[in-house]
């Protein structure tokens, strides 16, 4: 493993598989135990540096670090010196001077974790940067697929919705294709990024045509906060063409699963009864997120400090 986890595109097949295998081992080691805590990272300090609100990801990283006995500092930009104008670099150097071994960073600007990695000696984990990447989400998605279906090679994954703004989609495209899955992006043309033709994916505008062939349907959240232009005529129309409802669920194969990175807009991209169906892995994804992030922290921080 490299020192940082900045993007899923960085991970080769061996590294990605190592993370998934390590997560599986950690999960089985902790299963059924009263003490769900390991001493592995005792004395190490992990900083959660969050410039964007994200309760779910922050708690997941916090729990992962705490289960490995690391000290955790949660730093949210709101109410900190950042609101007084401190730059990312100065914040990072301050945290490093305080002895942080790893910085888990979420930032609204794409590429911020890359810059950060150039300034600090510790490890940097990208917990979502702008519309760029969210590698640990992709790892936990891959882990969830592997657990449910038993494999990733040749698995057909449909990623549906707002690909344009979705770092989850980007990370999943790179990671899943590295691991041998076949990805199809399904979205209205307005919500596909420029240059998607060069990605290792197929593209479709027709959800109903893709569903019967899919082993996994990964629904993306419609990012209402980023809908600052007319990407689609109305929420109802979007939901009718790209929403996953009970009728469309029935078109899926027997083994197929439904995923969603959360938080969901129930009734928009996914119907409530679909989200709660046995096909849905949404709650599992959350639990798997902790194991996968433990694996990432162990692999980045367990090694010799440099």
């Amino acid at each position: 493993m490299k020192r940082h986890l900045l993007e899923a595109a960085d991970l080769d097949r061996a590294d990605a598989t190592l993370v998934l295998d390590t997560a599986a081992q950690i999960e089985s080691a902790l299963a059924g135990r009263e003490v769900k805590k390991l001493p592995t990272l005792r004395g190490r300090t992990v900083v959660n540096l969050f410039y964007e609100d994200s309760t779910r990801t922050r708690i997941s990283f916090e729990l992962a670090a705490k289960r490995l006995s690391a000290d955790v500092i949660n730093f949210s930009a709101k109410g900190s010196s950042v609101s007084k104008g401190e730059s990312l670099k100065d914040t990072a150097l301050t945290l490093e001077a305080m002895g942080s071994d790893a910085i888990v960073v979420r930032h609204p600007s794409s590429g911020a974790p890359h810059r950060l990695a150039g300034w600090v000696r510790g490890s940097v984990v990208n917990a979502g940067d702008g519309t760029h990447e969210h590698p640990t989400q992709a790892l936990l998605d891959a882990y969830t697929i592997r657990r449910r279906l038993g494999r990733l090679d040749g698995v057909r994954v449909a990623v549906v919705g707002d690909v344009l703004h979705s770092r989850v989609a980007r990370s999943n495209v790179w990671l899943l294709s590295t691991l041998g899955a076949e990805v199809t992006l399904v979205a209205p043309p307005t919500l596909l990024p420029v240059g998607v033709g060069s990605w290792p994916v197929q593209v479709s505008y027709d959800l109903d045509a893709v569903l019967p062939k899919a082993d996994v349907v990964m629904m993306l959240r419609v990012q209402l906060e980023r809908m600052n232009a007319s990407f689609f005529p109305s929420a109802r129309e979007y939901s009718r063409r790209y929403g996953l409802d009970a009728l469309r669920l029935a078109a899926l194969g027997d083994e197929a699963v439904v995923m969603h990175p959360g938080p969901m807009n129930r009734g928009m991209e996914i119907a409530a009864d679909v989200a709660d169906s046995v096909r849905s892995t949404i709650v599992e994804q959350v639990a798997n997120g902790v194991s996968v992030r433990m694996a990432v922290l162990y692999l980045l921080l367990g090694g010799a400090s440099s």
Partner: protein, 188 residues
């Protein structure tokens, strides 16, 4: 080897135990476990420390069953996440931790490892066991004790005591992991 006239190259290896010796040693430890456990034999859980402690524990269980007619439980406990030298030695792939379905509470756990050296692996295994349950007692069985302890840890069952220098390495090969049974001392 003793009496060799030519200077021994630094990476020369001496065979300490051959396949027949390893089998004999495992048999002896199995007898000792049976004798020491007495009536408590059904409570014994042989817990191997990966990598080579795991097949050793399974072999011991097989011999105990053959000699005493009592099947004993076998498990493995991966100690990687409990090591205190991760900072200096780097990460390694994790291995399985498998315990009997009804756990180790109140039972007699015999930790099994191939080589006893600094004692740090055993300390890590004791820490791991503490998180997994509360055995009535924990004993330690090793194929080779090579000395150089850094912690106050002593084995209850020792296949062979081997005085070594710190520069030497003890290599244990087992049929399950390496194709053949053999214990070598490498270096001088």
């Amino acid at each position: 080897m003793a009496g060799s006239p030519a200077p021994v190259p630094e990476n020369a290896s001496t065979v300490l135990l051959g396949a027949a010796d390893v089998a004999r040693v495992v048999d002896r430890i199995a007898h000792q476990v049976i004798e020491k456990a007495g009536d408590a034999l059904p409570d014994v859980v042989l817990v191997g420390i990966p990598t080579r402690g795991a097949p050793l524990a399974r072999r011991l269980a097989g011999r105990v069953a053959a000699f005493a007619g009592t099947a004993v439980d076998v498990g493995t406990v991966d100690i990687t996440l409990y090591r205190d030298d991760l900072r200096t030695r780097g990460v390694r792939a994790l291995e399985d931790t498998v315990l009997p379905a009804d756990g180790i509470d109140g039972r007699l756990v015999v930790l099994v490892d191939d080589v006893l050296f600094s004692g740090r692996s055993v300390r890590a295994a004791l820490d791991a066991l503490r998180d997994l349950g509360r055995p009535r007692a924990v004993q330690l069985a090793v194929l080779v004790d090579r000395g150089h302890r850094e912690l106050p840890i002593r084995a209850d069952y020792v296949g062979k005591n081997v005085p070594t220098s710190r520069a030497q390495k003890v290599r244990v090969h087992l049929a399950e992991t390496d194709g053949a049974d053999e214990v070598l001392v490498v270096g001088q």
